[in-house]
Symmetry: C2
Subunit: 327 residues, 2 copies
């Protein structure tokens, strides 16, 4: 920048003002300086500017993932995409970090070390208590997940109870009587979906059967085993509500392999409405979560928190998308 100033015959202050679009600089001067900078491929050093401005214009997006491997859930990724776009619209940068169990301390370090203005936390909430502590300490953040009643941090989440209810009610309306549930119950969001499932069952006067409620993850080989077991024990079921599309696809695979027709003999509903759902055969009925709204809400809540606004909670409506797997 000193170079530019010298070459343009002005002070660095003028260059700084010209390049940052200050109204104090007349158009002619600005043009000259801008052109000079352009021709030298010069850009203002963001880090230095941020240091001086005592602001970093960056938010940390943290994905809580148990598996070291790939970012797993297509749905979370779709949120990541809209968060990235929304931050960009606000002129903020996005520092991406994946954290495993046991690295929780790194959350606050990012903020205290001045790397980011705040955090957007995506993923499962086995960290609820830790997040509460950070919120109490005044770390700005916004969390995607289940809306736990005692959360001290800004939250955005889908209406999981409603989603579970809609899915189950739909299966009941299709004439199903024995509806199984698959989903990781240790996960708060899946827990809420399960609550909705139970509510729909009770409302329809159907008996809930604990043997038809299993806590499994995608690709778990025991999915296959327990389906086999249920069938062997004549533990009949005519529908499955899976707490994620990926799990649903896994289940449909297991059922078909066993020669069981979907939706003929067993109807299946998933959750998340991933892009693939519409293109499978049978196409998968699913509960859609509004990802674009989710990303926008996360960013807006975080910016609010950074600005010192009181915590808010956003619950996004769930929408049932009916396709072939339930008809």
């Amino acid at each position: 920048m000193a170079d530019i100033a010298r070459m343009a015959g002005v002070s660095t202050a003028t260059v700084s003002r010209a390049l940052s679009g200050s109204a104090l600089i007349p158009e002619a001067t600005r043009q000259r300086i801008t052109d000079l900078a352009q021709s030298l491929n010069y850009r203002v050093n963001v880090g230095a500017a941020n240091l001086r401005k005592r602001d970093v214009q960056t938010v940390g997006v943290v994905i809580l993932g148990e598996s070291m491997q790939a970012i797993s859930d297509p749905f979370l990724l779709s949120i990541l995409g809209t968060v990235a776009d929304t931050l960009d619209e606000h002129g903020m940068s996005l520092l991406l970090t994946r954290l495993k169990e046991g690295q929780s301390h790194r959350l606050s370090e990012m903020v205290e070390g001045g790397q980011v203005n705040g955090l957007i936390v995506i993923g499962q909430l086995t960290w609820h208590d830790h997040l509460n502590k950070l919120a109490a300490r005044g770390i700005p953040m916004a969390v995607w997940g289940a809306c736990l009643p005692d959360a001290l941090y800004p939250m955005v989440g889908g209406d999981n109870e409603q989603g579970g209810y809609l899915a189950t009610q739909h299966l009941i309306a299709q004439g199903c009587k024995s509806i199984a549930y698959f989903g990781d119950l240790s996960h708060p969001e899946a827990g809420a979906r399960h609550q909705g499932y139970l509510r729909a069952l009770h409302e329809a006067g159907l008996q809930e059967d604990p043997r038809l409620q299993q806590s499994f993850l995608f690709g778990d080989t025991r999915i296959r085993a327990s389906i086999d077991q249920w069938l062997d024990r004549a533990q009949s079921f005519d529908a499955v509500f899976a707490a994620s599309d990926v799990t649903a696809i896994s289940i449909i695979g297991a059922l078909k392999e066993r020669g069981i027709d979907v939706p003929g003999r067993v109807k299946v509903v998933g959750y998340d409405d991933i892009a693939l759902a519409a293109h499978l055969h049978p196409s998968l009925s699913s509960v859609r979560q509004p990802t674009v709204d989710a990303g926008k809400a996360l960013v807006s809540l975080l910016l609010g928190a950074i600005a010192g606004q009181p915590k808010r909670t956003v619950v996004l409506p769930a929408q049932l998308v009916v396709r072939e797997s339930t008809q």
Copy 2:
């Protein structure tokens, strides 16, 4: 930091040294300072430290995406995951940016503005020429994609020609005679897969049929249309090689909807071996790309480029994974 120094009765220089683990500081002093910092939730300001050290320890990961919407391809995401982990192991941060067509100038700005030390570029390469210009200008980068012969930048990519060859050869070995190709030919990687497809065909003495080679993307409704058309015109085919799993799934859906059995009447191979491939029914044969190696190679090439090492190119082997969709 000044506070800590005052409270510990030492200079800021000592605090800085203690906190950065300098060997000059005796263990007792360091302990005292560390404890003090801990109790005050103090962390060294990364931005200020970086400014002074004239280094940012950050790399920009840029995803070139045409669709504003979600990050689409599960395979690219899986690379993103391993890149994130690998950078973390190297103690570097990851600044994520999605760029649309027409924003190419932002690539160099990130480096020239000192936000990042270098770039990892993921996605399709309609930007080949622009990337070449940046490389010539000395912008450190590493690109995932097709290994174009005139590339001036460090590249890592799968052996797409080999992958296409393996997939097609396998279909031929299964007795298929009319093998269709689906994939975006404007995309260099898909182009190479197509080359491999042609090579296998010729090697087996099979005639290539231009009418069986279509350039479509995932979910394109014309996939359905052209399958219908082929069948109507008695343009029979008994296999499809799709240049991505997502496309393959879309095609299988279209075929099944039309009542055509997979793999009975038409066999299908995809590309990428996404996690879902093994759990579908029929499970999907696919060409696996080594994502973990890909992530590691990208990071290692980029760090090399930053260190001023000459450009290298890494081609990762393709591996065919045979599943039900081709048996």
